[in-house]
Symmetry: C2
Subunit: 187 residues, 2 copies
DNA sequence: CAACTCTGGTAGACAGTGTCTATGAGCGAG
DNA sequence: CTCGCTCATAGACACTGTCTACCAGAGTTG
């Protein structure tokens, strides 16, 4: 039942967007009464958090698969990671929005936070291997890079970046970002 | 009346946060009935957009004042701009959230977009003056830098960056970001 | 086998929301 | 004075999340 509710919610957020994920609509799609979810998810926030956790798991799986496919070179892997992040945000806008709507999520509770940490760990690991001696300390560098990636994903998905800059290809932004933080690509 | 409603909304979002800015609560604080705003703002989105526009105007004013205070050196000005951006996000969390909640705003309508463009123009202008020949084209560089700044503001305000990286001072992230995109500070 | 508890879902109430509509107070123009 | 017209009011409607009373059915116990 838990799984059925979460599945209905995931389906809903993917097809209809973040604002459609109401408790009652999820219950309707799962074929139960509007009070049923309460036993498994005491509050709406708990259910949304479970749905968002599914999103993080999905994104993490995609990133790991991409990195396996792309070979061992860390720079290539980091580029692929970034590409996957941006593609995910664009392709699953509703889920991406939900995942970072901390006001809707039980971000305080440890379980949700934990789900997003492995993803950052992958990035942090690559940064450690790519960091040059004169760069900022690894945690700072990784944090700045993540923020840059995330900012591009957000502003691009909203259309703010194309509007303000006139740039029509996010690939240029991505390359500029990686080059800035890690030096020009060796290739 | 328009102004009174917007002022009540600005006050509400600053003190109670984004989720408290309901149409009816704004009307209550303005001392009118819940149907009154409808004549000036046909829908809730329009009222929220007007409030967000006020936020952009405030942020733009702060940035311009800061840049006047800090002298003519472009690098110093850019640093101050970034600092002001981060401080604004931290100090007026609710307003900052609202300003970038594009699902709540009439982002399609031109008026709101226009209000955020001058701010970006300031940044873009500084980037043009600081750009090195080997850097990415100016629009790309400015876009990437803005995304980086915005990402730090978001993730920092949510506590995600301190949690994931262990970094406790956003100044380090800011310096790393500027150094990455524009080269090490001359000073 | 009967009775009892207890899990897990139903259904209704409640306060709150945004939107729509009918109503009426106030006021300037003719 | 009376007609319009502007504009705020107040109620209805459908919807939301939460809470609570209820109850069907299964498992356990005496």
């Amino acid at each position: 039942m838990r799984a059925r509710l979460v599945a209905a919610g995931v389906d809903l957020v993917l097809t209809e967007g973040q604002s459609a994920v109401s408790l009652r609509e999820i219950a309707r799609r799962a074929g139960v009464s509007h009070g049923a979810p309460r036993r498994y998810f005491p509050t709406h926030v708990d259910l949304l958090s479970a749905i968002a956790r599914e999103g993080f798991a999905d994104l993490t799986a995609r990133v790991e698969k991409t990195m396996r496919d792309v070979g061992p070179d860390p720079r290539t892997q980091l580029t692929a990671l970034a590409r996957t992040y941006l593609d995910f945000a664009a392709a699953h806008r509703g889920m991406f929005e939900l995942m970072f709507r901390h006001d809707l999520l039980a971000s305080g509770r440890p379980r949700l936070r934990e789900t997003s940490l492995p993803l950052f760990a992958v990035l942090a690991d690559l940064v450690v291997r790519l960091r040059r001696p004169t760069d900022a300390p690894a945690p700072v560098l990784a944090g700045a890079l993540w923020a840059n990636l995330h900012g591009i994903a957000q502003l691009w998905a909203w259309g703010s970046l194309p509007l303000a800059t006139g740039v029509t290809d996010d690939e240029a932004l991505l390359r500029a970002t990686l080059d800035a933080h890690l030096g020009p690509a060796p290739h």
